[in-house]
Amino acid sequence: MIGRLADDVVLSIEDLWVEYQTPTGPMQAVRGATLEIRRGEAVALIGESGSGKTTLGLALLRLLTRTARVSRGRARFRTGDGRTLELFSLGGSDLRRFRWQECAMVFQAALNSLNPVLKVRDHFIETARAHGRKDDRQTSERARELLRMVQLDGERVLSSYPHELSGGMRQRVSIALSLLLEPQLIILDEPTTALDILTQRAIIDVIRSLRQRLNFTMMFISHDLSLAAELADRVATMYAGELVEVGKVRDVFYTPKHPYTVGLLNAVPPIAGEEFTPLTAIPGSPPDLLAMPSGCSFHPRCPYATELCVRQAPPLFAVGNGHQAACFHWERVTRRLDVWEGAVR
């Protein structure tokens, strides 16, 4: 595809394939992902472990391990000053600038992303210096301000080592740090996973208020559908390396059109309501990425599957306004549980 990015597009991913080298041959972890993220938007990438969502995030920041490579596709990014970057051909200083100044990633389990022998203050100062901001006083001032925004006592936290902070505090430090160089896009990988419920709530509230104040664009990766319901404007479901459904958050949650999204939604226990809510499991387990089923990769687990699904991989169909789903039978897909009961086990 040639042409400029539309003015309001921050990130455009086109037909992205990521391949891992394994002892038994190449494995496609991301298969032809296409996604656009517009300025100011929050997009949730949901899916279970092994669906390729973290790999996709790492590929964008060029942080894949040596055994993985982008084997096809492109990703373009519009910088703050209006230039368009081809992410997969960035090198040297452009790449360094892109990371942190244009796009920052907050990783799961914040303990590992903070250096245990550096105080929090030094994380901020070193990051700023590496990007040419040499005024340490100014950096500290900004750090204190950001830490206040994530509900932390700036002075105390700045002079702490990571291990002196709780998991929730470290996660908030990572979020504050990611915002230091005012990137346009923040990628959060499982921002609340492995945290206690009240801490999760605090992180959700912090992210929401930061977005209101700083108006950055956000892509977050999560296996937790509730988090997407809380924070996302749009949701993309990933299954076995493919984006199988994309749409506005209310469309995807209230009228999901891909059976896998439905299966996920029907498996999440609600807390609200005085009644018992029956749940169903998705039968079977995700495919071996080295031995993918023919046709639609979800067909062995799908109650709607027909002969067609076994033969042919479905393209993304337009199923509504800004809503797409990769299912031949999307018109028949509903959230009704009885559809699944026959299929379970």
Binding site: E48, T199, S226, A229, F253
Partner: protein
């Protein structure tokens, strides 16, 4: 209420640990009872003491004070034979099946070992037949596909099913599941919960189910009871639908309100309970009075920070440890004399 002995009971149990920073009380005066085929869920955040309770109930840890009883017998006074029977009847399933399954043993070996050791079957062939039976019980079918596999060849959900199968090997009457579904994916979580519910309904296995997730409690423990723990103390106890539908203790309220829902409109408009502080207190320096008072939005100065509330019966078999709840009840009850503490149809302060 049953007259018969509960299967397992913890009677005013406390457990202390020595740490470099001093002694901590991980569990403080907790009493619980589980009857045959019951489901009892313990919910709380990290540091709440729920895992320590699980370990004491499983006999892996002795209480510092208080008594653990199995079928009415104090575990410290059981004979060798009785202790062996208890060890067989009560089985633990851990959070992490990676860590709890031996990587160099096949699934078949793992499941045969306990039945052969306890002489429940004779010979390897019968052991294998029992192993296959166990795999079928946890829905790993056909069992032949799994017997000769090693743990690393299975998915996380399948490994957790094997852990449940192993727990079932000795025909237990109580399974203690400590965050047993916390590490598996959503769709697999439900099917493991459904499998465990089936074991309870068909084999009468009781469950002590430990989790941090109230939504999972609502699903798995709907027909049972919930205990909410906070820094070592039981702060609320009752039937699951009551506690989920209308939690009374401010901490239980905060937990229920904090959980995001997989429903955009609902979750964004849900009433949240704003706590005064995010910090879980340090176990070496617990707050005076009610341990929750520094975070509690309803705190009454001069009361909550001075006197520790006791777990009190609030009717319908429900217990709450909170001065504010107790005061509200006192303000409401004198008008309608309490019908006694018989439980059924008691005083639900509306």
């Amino acid at each position: 209420m049953t007259i018969t002995e509960p299967l397992l009971s913890l009677d005013h149990v406390s457990r202390e640990f020595s740490t470099r920073r001093g002694r901590i009380t991980a569990v403080d005066d907790v009493s619980l009872a589980i009857g045959r085929g019951d489901i009892l869920c313990l919910v709380g955040e990290s540091g709440s003491g729920k895992t320590t309770v699980a370990r004491m109930a499983a006999g892996l840890l002795e209480p510092t004070r208080g008594t653990v009883r199995f079928e009415g017998r104090d575990l410290r006074q059981t004979s060798k034979g009785e202790h062996k029977a208890y060890r067989r009847a009560v089985q633990l399933v851990h959070q992490d099946p990676y860590a709890s399954l031996n990587p160099v043993r096949t699934i078949g070996d793992t499941l045969r070992a306990p039945v052969l050791h306890h002489k429940l079957v004779r010979g390897r062939r019968e052991g294998t037949r029992r192993a296959a039976e166990l795999l079928t019980l946890v829905d790993l079918t056909p069992p032949q596909n799994f017997l000769s596999k090693y743990p690393h060849q299975l998915s996380g959900g399948q490994r957790q099913r094997v852990a449940v199968a192993r727990a079932l090997a000795l025909n237990p009457r109580l399974i203690i599941a400590d965050e047993a579904v916390s590490m598996v994916d959503v769709s697999i979580r439900v099917s493991i919960l459904n499998t465990m519910l089936k074991l309870r309904n068909e084999l009468g296995v009781a469950f002590l189910f430990i989790t941090h997730d109230l939504a999972v409690v609502k699903y798995f423990g709907w027909e049972g009871h919930v205990g909410v723990m906070y820094v070592g103390k039981l702060v609320e106890f009752g039937r699951t639908p009551q506690i989920i539908g209308r939690p009374l203790h401010p901490y239980a309220k905060a937990l229920a309100a904090a959980i995001p829902e997989a429903d955009p409109d609902l979750t964004r408009t849900k009433d949240k309970l704003q706590l005064r502080s995010l910090d879980i207190p340090n176990l070496t320096a617990l707050p005076s009075g009610c341990v929750f008072h520094p975070r509690c939005p309803y705190v009454v100065p001069g009361l909550c920070d001075e006197v520790a509330p006791r777990l009190e019966d609030v009717g319908e078999g429900r217990e709450v440890a909170c001065h504010v709840v107790a005061r509200e009840r006192q303000a409401l009850t004198p008008l309608s004399p309490s019908p006694g503490s018989t439980g059924e149809g008691g005083t639900e302060a509306a």
